[in-house]
Symmetry: C3
Subunit: 289 residues, 3 copies
Amino acid sequence: MSKQRILIQLDSDKHASVFDGVVAVDSGVDHLFQYSQVSVDDVEGLVHGAMFTRGPQDLHQTAVFVGGSDVATGEALAEAATNCFFGPMRVSVMMDSNGANTTAAAAVLAAAREMNLNGVEALVLAGTGPVGLRAGRLLATQGARVKLGSRSLERAQQAAAAIQSQVDGSEVQGVATATGEETLLAAKDAEVIIAAGAAGIQLISKSVWEQCEQLKVLIDLNAVPPLGIEGVDVMDKAKADGQQILYGAIGVGGTKMKIHKAAIASLFESNEQVLDAEEIYSIGESLES
Amino acid sequence: MSKQRILIQLDSDKHASVFDGVVAVDSGVDHLFQYSQVSVDDVEGLVHGAMFTRGPQDLHQTAVFVGGSDVATGEALAEAATNCFFGPMRVSVMMDSNGANTTAAAAVLAAAREMNLNGVEALVLAGTGPVGLRAGRLLATQGARVKLGSRSLERAQQAAAAIQSQVDGSEVQGVATATGEETLLAAKDAEVIIAAGAAGIQLISKSVWEQCEQLKVLIDLNAVPPLGIEGVDVMDKAKADGQQILYGAIGVGGTKMKIHKAAIASLFESNEQVLDAEEIYSIGESLES
Amino acid sequence: MSKQRILIQLDSDKHASVFDGVVAVDSGVDHLFQYSQVSVDDVEGLVHGAMFTRGPQDLHQTAVFVGGSDVATGEALAEAATNCFFGPMRVSVMMDSNGANTTAAAAVLAAAREMNLNGVEALVLAGTGPVGLRAGRLLATQGARVKLGSRSLERAQQAAAAIQSQVDGSEVQGVATATGEETLLAAKDAEVIIAAGAAGIQLISKSVWEQCEQLKVLIDLNAVPPLGIEGVDVMDKAKADGQQILYGAIGVGGTKMKIHKAAIASLFESNEQVLDAEEIYSIGESLES
């Protein structure tokens, strides 16, 4: 009898995410073990329990999902999990706290549908947050010249430097986008804008982005009005608007959900996978073809 | 592949109820997500996770069960859950904290088996507690003239007024039942007595109820001796005792369990159900035929 | 439709053990309810929920597993669970906090493979800890003359007296093993040595045990170097080394895992089982034949 698929959901919040649980079930997980309020100190005991129960030939049927609303904590939990592994004694791990990886992957994939991103100039608004940083990194990996926008120039430059150190040969620049003038300057030559800001905060007005002559794709990831990009509707999905193509948060959400499910399913293909932004983006790419 | 049935158990206690969990499994739930120590502030995040994962055509395969020992908290959690819904974005919800709804429904159904409740006088002892209140409301809905008994006349009258405002055209009266004399006065013309008090507290003696000439059905919901109605045995199930029919807590329990299971199963028939006392009573009625 | 198998995992730790959960799934449990941070006061409500949901004919399909890293707490939880039962209203219970019962059973079974334990002299190092105490008790039950070693003679003697009062006609002696000289004295005539100490602490050096002329079997249950018995490797499984047979922690682990799974599966054969050290050892014996 082949082993049943067990997903161990390590979540840093008071209650492990229902959303992540339902997606896990819909991805073919047989048994979901939900753990809440998981801190870094708890990880070793939990992950050892995953590593030391089934034989090496069955370890691919156990996997770990790291979630919760705090992305920095999720990164620390995922790192603590992978630090437990040695040799063949490991299980696959996916990190998607606050949906940051699947959301960033879906956004960049939406842009990649409309153009080859190699050499393209792309602006990520709220580019220093967890989703924005990942979107910027994925764009850079695809060869785009990336501007990360933030109200604070200093934080934008730090984030840009971080991505440049992670992605060989990438061109990433931090830019201030605190005012309309700054934002126009940042967006002027962009062909792609992704807005990855908090709920209910507008990051760029239509009167600003209408002045950007190269602009082809606008993607907004905020589902709560006012949206991040004025003029985008939350339901927009590759909506043609003059010479621009618009995506809203729910329009991107379908792709995000497909990527999330495919990523969970892929955890059980081997025991060696560590799914962070780049790996999850690759899974998304394979779904597009 | 049709979606698997997921029940999200929101429980206000330290540990989500085993009882409710086992009943869920026996009602055909494929995956049970148990959440403990749920407070009103936690509900939105959890319920959004249920609403925003599956498409509208599959939302009936996800449902919410609200439980825990505190009925007032359960009512608040259920209300918070239904407040999250808009348009077709909703999942079915059942509230049965402390078993109050299924117990009250089973008790009133037991009485309804023996007589048409329309126009009948019924006394609910401990009528201001969560089970008693619901039994009183269900009796009123069936057209019975209801007396709610309590040691405090004031609380009895408040509870009666609450039911009257909820059930159009109902006749509900609060009565004091602190002493044997008061209880005799309250029970004198009753055809049905339901005792819904706390474990181990006698609410009416046999010498009192034997003086009630109209009395046909006595139902006691307390399983821990001394029982609420002297002379009833916890196992009694439609037991004939002179001209009276007796039900004890375990005698009612079989019906309660059938109602609970049928109610859980019915959650998955559509995504629009909100199962509180009246809806659960209707499910019980459909099982009787 | 036959009822699905539900295992209720009562765990005293912050998070219920992943290890125990995976083994439960691999033992054929259909639904696992994991409860964390369970204290003695919580047990009655949880166990009543297991007892009072399914009819007597189906109670064998619900069972309780007690785990967690603290064995004394686990013993108290298991006792609280069995105290809830009356007459036929019961479910099967297995206690294996920190793996103490399955580990001790696997160790003694390893020794029993090599010789008839009746009349044999056996030394248990770290014999006053939870695994050591259980190993000593199982050895005594098999008719071995047991020495329990501890750095404190007084604790060793107390533990020995406890086993003697539990196992009729047993010969159990507490011995000091704080120094090499004391350990040599304790081990001199032993045919079996089991080291049940904490991770990373050596309990006997090779130069000491090589002086023990009767010694046939050495079993070390510590997986973290330095191991408890110098000269044993963690992977040793009935490894011949001169005239001795060696077992290390992982060498014993395969048997431990088989016993654990068989014990979980056996919980569902009737509703009357209480699986503590002796019962779990018997299950292990049945797997050897």
